[in-house]
């Protein structure tokens, strides 16, 4: 077994990150040939809703997931909206997962279409992680007719970053030798965990690439970004000790939206909440995780933030129940100041399928 370079004496891990290419949209194009070659958005409609996934043809027009479908339509007027078929996606997801399990038990699904695999000691005794990733990609292609992109490296962060480097149908390997150089050159907004807002803040601090980030002291990053600053410090040095955890379950999932123009009346707050709830609903389906607690987060124009939450008897599983609870929470808040940000999240998550609309029985 090769040993990681320099001061790291532990055996080097070999981690593969696999991400299906435009998963929902590709499944739709696979099953409905008339959609092939066309810009397709799964979820939403011309008038309302949120795009859950966009085909590569649609992405060329700047359409991406979590974009409001109205905006998607404006960007790409010939886009085809299709209804999501989560049952089919879940089925394909299980197919893919069983392929992963042929190679290793250490599979950590991130969602229906994405997973980390630790193939350091794999079931097929394959020495090369690149070769393993290629075999998995081929097998996925063969069994599902879909393409996946893979990233291979020695920790989760780098594996994921590698996947994003080349898509679709990509296979990128970041070896320990390449890691530091790779990260140094990586634009800051390509870092996993650095979103639009954080990227803008980083850039305002003069951080445009991994090399810039590496110049910062850990304490300074924590001061600027809070707890996640520790993580940024680590990853800028290509360090990430997180294990591939097959039993990991997220604690919460949600969505939020910062408005270009502050909202000044309750009606527009409710309208935006309905949109955010659609996004949350999509995530519930994507992660097949259900919780009973809904939290509403509100940030006012003076940056003061409040949260209100409510726990209900039954798992929250669909848009209308999210909305119903969100509106109840809405009514508990004094809407006296303009609203800058709204967010909804569900916590206390459980992977068990909830007893949805349960038919009750007599007590005998």
């Amino acid at each position: 077994m090769r040993v990681a370079e320099e001061n790291n004496l532990q055996p080097m891990r070999r981690i593969i990150h696999i991400d299906m290419d435009a998963f929902y949209a590709s499944v739709e194009q696979r099953d409905f040939p008339t959609l092939r070659g066309k810009p397709v958005a799964v979820g939403g409609s011309r008038e309302r809703g949120v795009v859950a996934a966009a085909s590569y043809e649609a992405r060329k027009f700047g359409v991406h997931s979590a974009m409001s479908s109205r905006k998607a339509y404006a960007n790409c007027p010939h886009i085809v909206f299709v209804k999501p078929r989560f049952d089919v996606y879940k089925e394909v997801s299980l197919q893919i997962r069983s392929i992963f399990l042929e190679y290793t038990e250490l599979v950590e699904p991130l969602s229906l279409d994405e997973a980390y695999l630790d193939v350091t000691a794999n079931k097929k005794q394959l020495a090369s992680a690149r070769h393993t990733a290629q075999l998995i990609k081929d097998q996925i292609k063969l069994q599902t007719g879909l393409t996946a992109s893979a990233g291979v490296s020695f920790n989760k962060f780098l594996a994921k970053t590698a996947t994003d480097f080349q898509k679709p149908d990509g296979l990128t390997v970041i070896t320990p030798k390449q890691a530091k150089e790779f990260i140094a050159k990586l634009p800051i907004d390509k870092f996993y965990g650095v979103g639009k807002v954080t990227a803008a803040k980083m850039q305002s601090l003069g951080i445009f690439s991994g090399a810039d980030l590496m110049q910062w002291e850990e304490a300074a990053l924590v001061k600027q970004f809070g707890k996640v600053g520790h993580f940024y410090y680590q990853i800028s040095r290509a360090q990430d000790d997180r294990d591939v955890n097959p039993n990991r379950i997220r604690k919460s999932l949600g969505a939020e939206s910062t408005f270009e123009v502050d909202l000044t009346d309750v009606d527009s707050v409710k309208e935006e909440l309905a949109r955010i709830a659609l996004d949350v609903d999509g995530r519930i389906n994507k992660h097949t995780a259900y919780g009973k607690t809904l939290t509403l987060k509100v940030k006012f124009s003076d940056f003061k933030q409040i949260t209100r939450s409510k726990t209900v008897l039954f798992p929250i599983t669909d848009h209308s129940s999210i909305m119903q609870i969100a509106y109840q929470l809405c009514d508990e808040i004094q809407w006296t100041k303009p609203v800058r940000l709204l967010g909804l999240s569900i916590s206390g998550l459980n992977r068990e399928i909830p007893f949805q609309n349960q038919q009750l029985s007599f007590p005998f």
């Binding site: 209804k83 909830p354 949805q356 609309n357 349960q358 038919q359 009750l360 005998f364």
Partner: protein
């Protein structure tokens, strides 16, 4: 052995009892009818071991003897023949059966009648009599609510409770419950039995349309029904029926009165839009207005209707399986029905507003928990 019989008369009798025959019986000989000839009398038996039906009819014969005849081939042959006298010739050594008609002849291979399982005889039974209309109505009103869950055998039949004042028929599948009571059918002995659904279905199908007395006898393990030329024997379900009386709420505070046909038609339309798996409809009840709605999130289908009603109680939203409601309302005849409710997770009680003579019908249905019920 030889006998002659009208093809259509024989077919009529065979059809009346053939429903008991299963396609893949445990004992292969049960794919046959048992024919027992005693001079001018033919006794035909069909059985699935649990239930047996016996029909008797007149034939022309001087012989006596028995033979098992393949049911499907025989019925199909008779169905295809124009009405005419047909002759059966049975070779008692080879069990060959030859059927002769004006059109030609047909050879079937029968089986040894002694292999046909014995039908239990009435033994130390308790006897009573019902009119066929009362019995037919009681069966029709309850049987649809029986369970098909073999893990709860007690609920796969109709519970019959007899006492000196009345006769009560109860069926439940755990989610809904029907109690059908007649106060013109009291008996002088207390008795309660559970009769399997299949037997009651067969009985219902073979009961004559004109009112006929039906003799019922119950032994420890079997029930016997006889009317006209038909006898039916079935094994009772030897289980304890659930303590259903406790499930009937007796002080539901909220009461809805509504036209039965209007509600039924509305439910039929709305349920088209309900989720196929759950059939869930939502009733939102406010003073004098019932809002029925359904949605199928998978297909983005939704529908709602408002119905006028009389309602006394707190505003309420409650979910039900539309199929249950439709089946229940279908079995009532009252112009107006009452629905009594207490909470979205408690049983709703449906009763007809106008009672038929001597009849007391009570229907209970458990709600579907609406998942946004916070």
């Amino acid at each position: 052995m030889k006998f002659e019989v009208s093809s259509s008369t024989l077919l009529k009798q065979l059809s009346a009892i053939s429903g008991v025959i299963t396609t893949n019986p445990i004992v292969p000989i049960l794919e046959n009818f048992l024919f027992q000839i005693n001079k001018n009398k033919l006794t035909i038996t069909a059985s699935d071991l649990q239930t047996s039906i016996i029909a008797e009819m007149e034939i022309n014969s001087n012989d006596s003897g028995s033979i098992a005849v393949p049911a499907k081939i025989l019925i199909d042959t008779l169905k295809g023949l124009p009405d005419q006298p047909v002759t059966f010739l049975v070779d008692e050594n080879t069990y060959g059966v030859e059927l002769k008609s004006d059109n030609g002849q047909y050879k079937l291979s029968g089986e040894n009648a002694t292999d046909f399982p014995r039908v239990p005889a009435v033994n130390r039974a308790y006897t009573l009599e019902f009119s066929s209309d009362v019995l037919g109505r009681a069966i029709a009103n309850t049987i649809f609510a029986t369970s098909t869950d073999e893990l709860r055998p007690a609920m796969t039949g109709v519970y019959i409770q007899l006492n000196e004042n009345n006769a009560t028929f109860v069926a439940t599948d755990g989610h809904r419950l029907i109690r059908y009571r007649r106060d013109d059918a009291g008996t002088n002995t207390d008795l309660s039995v559970i009769i399997p659904r299949k037997a009651l279905n067969l009985l219902k199908a073979s009961l004559p349309s004109e009112s006929t007395p039906v003799k019922m006898e119950f032994s420890n393990s079997n029930a016997f029904f006889s009317f006209n030329n038909i006898r039916m024997i079935c094994r009772l379900i030897d289980e304890r029926f659930p303590d259903y009386e406790n499930a009937i709420p007796n002080n539901n505070p909220n009461r809805l009165s509504i036209g039965r046909v209007e509600l039924l038609s509305s439910l039929r339309r709305i349920s088209i839009y309900a989720n196929r798996a759950t059939n869930q409809v939502r009733l939102r009840i406010a003073k004098n207005d019932l809002l029925i709605s359904a949605e199928d999130l998978d297909f983005s289908n939704e529908a709602n209707e408002h119905l006028p009603c009389e309602y006394k109680g707190e505003d309420m939203e409650i979910g039900f399986n539309a199929r249950f409601l439709i089946e229940m309302l279908n079995n009532l005849s009252s112009k107006t029905i009452n629905i009594e409710l207490s909470a979205p997770n408690r049983a709703g009680l449906i009763t007809p507003d106008e009672r038929e003579e001597n009849e007391d019908i009570l229907m209970l249905v458990m709600p579907v928990m609406l998942n946004n019920y916070a």
